[in-house]
């Protein structure tokens, strides 16, 4: 019988991986860039948060906890910024047509 | 099969794939990508030599690891220089590849420097 922390870790990481899987299915199956962005950013952030939550009991020092949570926050920040940039390239906020030469979605 | 052997075979396959891309792609930037693939395959071969040398409480022999780190940095510098050369070639002659122009083809657009 594994200790409680290990069971919690396995459960949280598995749940997080399921969210990542859902996000990837959304990336592959949604019709256009904006909906795919939605799937990627929402599902991946939640998935990463669950994985980090699952890993917290495995680390004993408070500095390690801060490090893990910092990883999650930085990934959130990066994901939010990139989501804004990609969405802005597809549909610019001021209504001008999307720039030529941008990569296809 | 230990993980060292598995990833060593992976590295061998990467060198082969990169070599194929280097030979068969007409564009210079694709060749640079393929060359980086070859480089990473070679570094993986160093890495498995390091893994198999694990002893004295270390996870791997540190000397090949240090060689790979040096190699990665130098490979980046070489890639930066190669990419700049490709961009300059495109700026001065409009071509993105190194194949000689065949006779009867229109010359690539020439852009003069301002």
């Amino acid at each position: 019988m594994m200790p409680v922390q290990d069971i919690f870790t396995v459960a949280a990481v598995t749940l997080g991986s399921l969210f990542f899987l859902a996000g990837t299915v959304g990336l592959l199956r949604f019709p256009d860039t904006l909906t795919r962005l939605h799937a990627l950013t929402k599902a991946d952030n939640l998935g990463l948060g669950l994985v980090v939550l699952g890993l917290l009991p495995q680390v004993s020092s408070p500095l390690g906890w801060i490090g893990l949570i910092a990883v999650w926050l930085l990934a959130l920040l990066a994901g939010a910024t990139v989501g804004q940039l990609v969405a802005g390239a597809v549909r610019p906020p001021d209504g001008t047509p999307a720039q030529r030469g941008n990569p296809p979605a | 099969m230990s993980e060292a052997t598995l990833f060593g075979l992976c590295g061998a396959a990467l060198v082969g794939l990169g070599l194929y891309g280097l030979i068969c792609h007409p564009g210079a930037l694709r060749k640079i990508l393929a060359f980086n693939l070859i480089g990473s395959g070679v570094f993986l071969l160093f890495g498995i030599v390091a893994r198999r040398g694990a002893a004295s409480g270390f996870g791997g022999d540190p000397v090949p690891q240090a060689l790979v780190i040096t190699g990665l940095v130098v490979a980046f510098a070489a890639t930066a220089l190669a990419v700049a050369l490709v961009l300059r070639l495109a700026q001065t002659s409009g071509r993105t590849g190194l194949d000689p122009e065949r006779p009867g083809q229109p010359e690539g657009t020439r852009r003069t420097e301002s």
Binding site: T81 | A66, A80
Partner: protein, 318 residues
């Protein structure tokens, strides 16, 4: 071991699949995207092989900075005309495939026939590590046992930068590098470039400091610092320095100069080039690392910024 075998197999298959994508993708931009993902999976493979320092370097430099370089180049290149894009004839491709299969088979044979038990320098490295004062054996190799390699590498970086700058057209000499275009004002990128660099600089210095005893080191730290600088330039908050700027040139060479200086001092104080006197090894190593981190960060940023371009009256971006 049996529990991790499926993970290793999955990683290897993913790696090979991404490599096939990089080779087989039709658009160069797609291939560059695939290369970034390939680099990150490769970093995971390096962790599985127990080389965490190499994994950090691969993720930061091999995947991150190289990917940025290739993506920008793919976006800036003009589309090739169809005659130029013609692949070689079928016969050539079959021959090339055969050649590559032979090369792969040869390397695979080398891998499978490696001597058992494996020769290793780990005991020799471990025996002398306490004298250097560092706990991370890779840092010990890089800065103590094979310091001359690291010195050569830092000089190679300076030479690569000189080669890059020499590609500028004559009229553009003295201008600022132009390969990093700026984003329009008010975009999310400006916000990121204002919020992230303080943390990024902390992380970079931490990577440098912790590399003495744990995985990390100056190249990884320098890459993070360079990435923060490049982020600030791309967001338009700062312009890259002109190539004639003396301060930038001093920053570029100070790492190599201090390295050579300490090495030459070793000839008098410790009987050999790059030998450290007893008891002074750790402070000297830290001094070299600090100077090199600064120089390498500046050089990496300038390598990404590209050759100088002539100043134009209106800021252009198509």
């Amino acid at each position: 071991m049996s529990l991790t075998a499926p993970v290793d197999l999955g990683l290897a298959l993913l790696l090979l699949g991404l490599a096939v994508w990089v080779i087989a993708a039709s658009a160069t931009y797609r291939a560059a995207e695939g290369f970034i993902a390939y680099g990150l999976v490769l970093a995971l493979v390096w962790v599985r092989l127990g080389s965490v320092d190499v994994a950090l370097t691969e993720a930061a430099l091999g995947s991150g900075l190289t990917g940025l370089l290739l993506l920008r180049a793919a976006a800036r290149l003009p589309p090739a005309d169809p005659a130029e894009r013609a692949r070689p004839a079928k016969g050539v491709r079959v021959l090339a495939g055969l050649l590559c299969a032979v090369v792969t088979a040869g390397l695979a044979a080398v891998v499978l026939l490696l001597p058992e038990p494996a020769p290793t320098l780990a005991p020799a490295a471990a025996a002398s590590l306490p004298a250097t004062g560092v706990g991370n054996p890779v840092t010990g190799v890089l800065l103590a046992y094979r310091a001359v390699d690291t010195l050569g590498e830092s000089i190679v970086l300076v030479l690569a930068l000189i080669g890059l700058w020499s590609l500028a057209p004559d009229a553009a000499w003295g201008g600022r590098p132009g390969a990093l275009t700026t984003a329009p004002a008010g975009s999310a990128l400006r916000f990121l470039a204002q919020v992230l660099p303080p943390f990024g600089i902390l992380v970079g210095i931490h990577l440098l400091w912790v590399g003495a005893d744990h995985p990390g080191g100056k190249f990884q730290g320098a890459t993070v610092l360079a990435a923060m600088w490049v982020l600030v330039i791309i967001a338009g908050l700062r312009r890259p320095p002109p190539v004639t700027s003396r301060a930038t040139r001093w920053l570029v060479v100070v790492g190599s100069l201090i390295f050579v200086g300490i090495g030459a001092a070793g000839i008098w104080l410790a009987e050999a080039f790059l030998a450290y006197p007893d008891g002074l090894a750790k402070p000297l190593i830290l001094a070299i690392e600090a100077a090199l981190t600064l120089s390498v960060a500046v050089i990496l940023g300038l390598l990404l910024a590209g050759p100088p371009e002539a100043e134009r009256p209106t800021e252009r971006r198509s």
